[in-house]
């Protein structure tokens, strides 16, 4: 008999509604709440434990919850992890996907959930885990449970999986090589004929198009302008107090530089894993040129230097994360009356 761990939230775990969204994680034996909907659809497998956690608690204490679950599972053997489904619920979707992603990485055990296509967690986590396509709201549970249970059965049996559309999971975005029945030229002419005859056709590669960023217009008056210093070169106070990761950072930080004339060796350093940091550590101004900005201020060429150095590591950062952080940084700058930005990369 294969063993499954189940994750659900305060609502589906029958603790309560929004008022219980700060419920701390609980670890139970056997199936609880909506886990019971799965039990008779799983073949030769049983749900041995159910984890319940409030949605707010999870998203605000992600590391704590993961540690709790990790501590509980450390000495337990299991074969699969199922979370949700979370439909279009934002926080629950993040919780399900995040814990599944953690389990997959930590234990190398498949962990699946079910989300509606517009749930933001789909884009954030689909490359890590199997996320099944389910309905928008809990009304879709009748269809969602058999879909997820059957997929779980396939994984447990070790069946060869079909295409993402056949299995109804969100493609992880991984390109794998296959041999097709016709050669490339035959397929190209077939595709062109379909286009010419206005018939539906399917491209073999969805093209990614990057948004082109128009440079901002020059500042009219530099002498009164407030200039911010911002870098994706990973320059942080020595010791990296906020633990900005060396790669795939999802966070940026702002450090007060209002009392400094330059970034000194031993006071700031680079935590970026994508380039040789020796020269940046020797003189952090090489990546974040505060010394030059202060000089320009003293010479009266610029008005003032913004109070904070804004920094992150731009290394293997996903386009989605980079876009989100850029927006957040821009909003903060606008709020604080920043006129211009020196943005450096490595």
């Amino acid at each position: 008999m294969k063993k499954i761990i189940f994750y659900t939230n305060q609502f589906f775990g029958q603790i309560g509604g929004e008022d219980k969204a700060y419920t701390e994680p609980q670890f139970h034996n056997g199936p609880i709440g909506n886990a019971n909907a799965f039990t008779d659809k799983l073949e030769d497998a049983e749900i041995i434990h159910t984890v319940i956690c409030g949605d707010n608690y999870y998203v605000e204490n992600m590391d704590k919850v993961k540690k709790f679950i990790n501590d509980k599972l450390k000495n337990i053997e299991f074969d699969l992890f199922i979370a949700g489904p979370a439909f279009n619920a934002g926080r629950f979707g993040i919780a399900c996907s995040d814990i599944c992603s953690f389990i997959k990485k930590q234990y190398n055990i498949e962990a699946i959930t079910g989300l509606y296509e517009e749930n933001p967690a789909v884009e954030m986590y689909k490359k890590d885990i199997y996320i099944l396509r389910v309905g928008k709201s809990a009304a879709g549970i009748r269809r969602a449970v058999p879909l997820m249970a059957e997929f779980a059965n396939k994984l447990l049996r070790g069946d060869q999986l079909g295409s993402p559309s056949a299995e109804q999971y969100f493609a992880k975005g991984k390109r794998i090589n296959i041999f097709r029945e016709k050669n490339g030229a035959e397929r190209a002419v077939d595709m062109l004929l379909k286009r010419l005859n206005n018939e539906p056709y399917e491209t073999e590669l969805e093209i990614s198009v990057y948004e082109k960023v128009e440079p901002a217009k020059p500042l009219k008056d530099l002498k009164s302008a407030k200039i911010a210093l911002c870098t994706s070169g990973g320059i942080v106070p020595f010791g990296n107090p906020d633990h900005i990761p060396a790669a795939t950072a999802k966070i940026f930080k702002m450090y007060d530089i209002s009392n400094l004339d330059a970034l000194k060796e031993g006071e700031f350093e680079s935590v970026h894993a994508g380039y040789d940091p020796v020269y940046a550590n020797k003189d952090p101004n090489r990546v974040a040129p505060l010394d030059t900005l202060i000089k320009l201020k003293k010479e009266g060429i610029i008005g003032e230097v913004y109070t904070y150095l804004t920094t992150t590591t731009g290394n293997s950062t996903s386009v989605a994360d980079a876009t989100r952080m850029g927006k957040e940084i821009a909003e903060k700058f606008i709020e604080d009356g920043v006129d211009g930005v020196i943005l450096t990369s490595t």
Partner: protein, 427 residues
């Protein structure tokens, strides 16, 4: 214009004391082949070998693959050897089907590839299914890299022509006839069929990245209207060793898969109007010029739909996208054939350049994907050089003799004229 291809199906190749075809077996006299090739004094040494499908044989580093062909009363590969040249694409051409000349020998650059005659790599290469006449060439010491490439290229073409001419005396063949009419005649003949043209991209970027058109380096031509029939007669010769998986060998040019398919559907489902040969240059200005001229020619052909084939990857993707975008903006529908560089794990963006108009793409596979190849009993060439070539690295050769390479390293594995079945999908 009419061309008859007389295809002699070669069932075996053996060394002999004469050069002839008997019962569809090609017999070759090593001594006379050697004399022919050593006419070029830049060649210090030449040897020949035969590799057959199913054998435990690995050939590396392969520079070019050429199908033996010859013209009855004419010159195959016009413009390569003689000053005088006839327009290719009419008359009678003999093809030794099922065999090929493969050139190898010490490495020229970093772009030469691998052919396995059995095992998993054989699934990826059309050349693993051919009877390969392998020519191992060693140059004289004073010959520099540019001349080295030229020497080997010309030797391969010369041998393919010589062997092709053996076929002129043989009378058992399968005949295939092609007809190529003027644009006006075609328009009148099939007014109801959609008019389709072909943008034939070819690398034109320097040593080991060149193509020759009637013997001329394509860096020195602007995009030209060509006929499918002259391509079959060797008007285009490969001078490039761009990454093995995505290179267009002379064999690929002679048997261009897009041309084959368009001719098959011509007069039935499409009206095949013509081909524009588009050299892929290094600088952006040259790219814009050539793409603009190619698109102009396509418009003049009255095409409603266009197939765009590719060669190489990286900066040539820009040419591919510019042509696609320009055609689509004129209301001409396109389909692109390209490979992908989606990373070893397949998780990266596939192409280094893109336009939203590129909405119909045929993928010939992710070239970064790796494959472990078993040890072969016999190696023809110099396997150690795999450490320096595309698709290989210092860790490629395993202690037990196996070989770990990217698909890129296998000759023709993801040919961008669509000559293979390899593709990729998202999971």
């Amino acid at each position: 214009m009419n061309l008859e291809l007389r295809k002699i199906h070669i069932v075996d190749v053996v060394f002999s004391n004469e050069n002839k075809i008997e019962n569809n077996v090609l017999k070759l006299n090593k001594i006379s082949l050697s004399e022919l090739i050593k006419e070029d004094k830049r060649i210090k040494n030449v040897d020949f070998d035969i590799a057959k499908p199913g054998q435990s044989v690995r050939i590396f580093p392969v520079k070019d693959v050429i199908e033996p062909r010859a013209k009855l009363n004419g010159e195959i590969f016009p413009g390569v050897f003689k000053d005088h040249m006839d327009e290719a694409g009419s008359g009678i051409t003999y093809v030794l089907d099922g065999c090929a000349v493969v050139t190898t020998g010490p490495i020229v650059g970093f772009q030469e590839g691998l052919i396995d005659m059995s095992g998993p790599a054989a699934e990826y290469s059309i050349f693993s299914k051919l009877l390969n006449i392998v020519m191992i060439i060693t140059k004289e010491d004073y010959v520099d890299p540019h001349e080295h490439e030229e020497t080997v290229r010309l030797a391969g073409i010369k041998l393919a022509k010589f062997i092709g001419e053996i076929g002129l005396m043989y009378d058992t063949y399968e005949s295939v006839s092609y007809e190529w009419k003027s644009i006006g005649e075609k328009f009148g003949q099939y007014p109801g069929l959609p008019k389709v043209a072909y943008v034939y991209n070819c690398m034109s970027q320097g040593l080991l990245h060149d193509t020759y058109f009637y013997g001329r380096d394509t860096k020195h031509i602007v995009p030209s209207l060509i006929t499918p029939l002259e391509v079959m007669d060797g008007a285009i010769v490969s001078g490039n060793c761009v990454s093995p998986g995505s290179k267009t060998t002379t064999y690929h040019h002679l048997n261009n898969a897009v041309i084959k398919e368009l001719l098959k559907k011509h007069g039935k489902e499409i009206n095949f109007m013509g081909i524009v040969l588009n050299p892929l240059m290094v600088t952006l200005k040259e790219k814009y010029r050539n793409c603009m001229l190619s698109v102009k020619s396509i418009e003049m052909l009255g095409a409603e739909g266009v197939i765009i084939s590719q060669e190489g990857f990286g900066n040539p993707t820009t040419d591919l996208m510019i042509v696609c975008q320009s055609l689509e903006n004129r209301g001409i529908k396109t389909v692109i054939i390209t490979n992908e560089d989606a990373g070893i794990d397949g998780m990266s963006e596939s192409l280094p350049d893109s336009v939203t108009e590129a909405k119909a793409i045929v993928s010939t596979g992710n070239s970064n994907a790796t494959i472990m190849l078993p040890k072969m009993e016999r190696v023809i060439g110099h396997l150690k050089d795999i450490e320096k070539t595309t698709g290989g690295n210092v860790d490629s050769i395993q202690e037990d003799g196996r070989l770990l390479v990217e698909i890129h390293g296998i000759m023709g594995s993801h040919n961008l004229q669509g000559n293979t079945y390899l593709s990729a999908e998202t999971v």
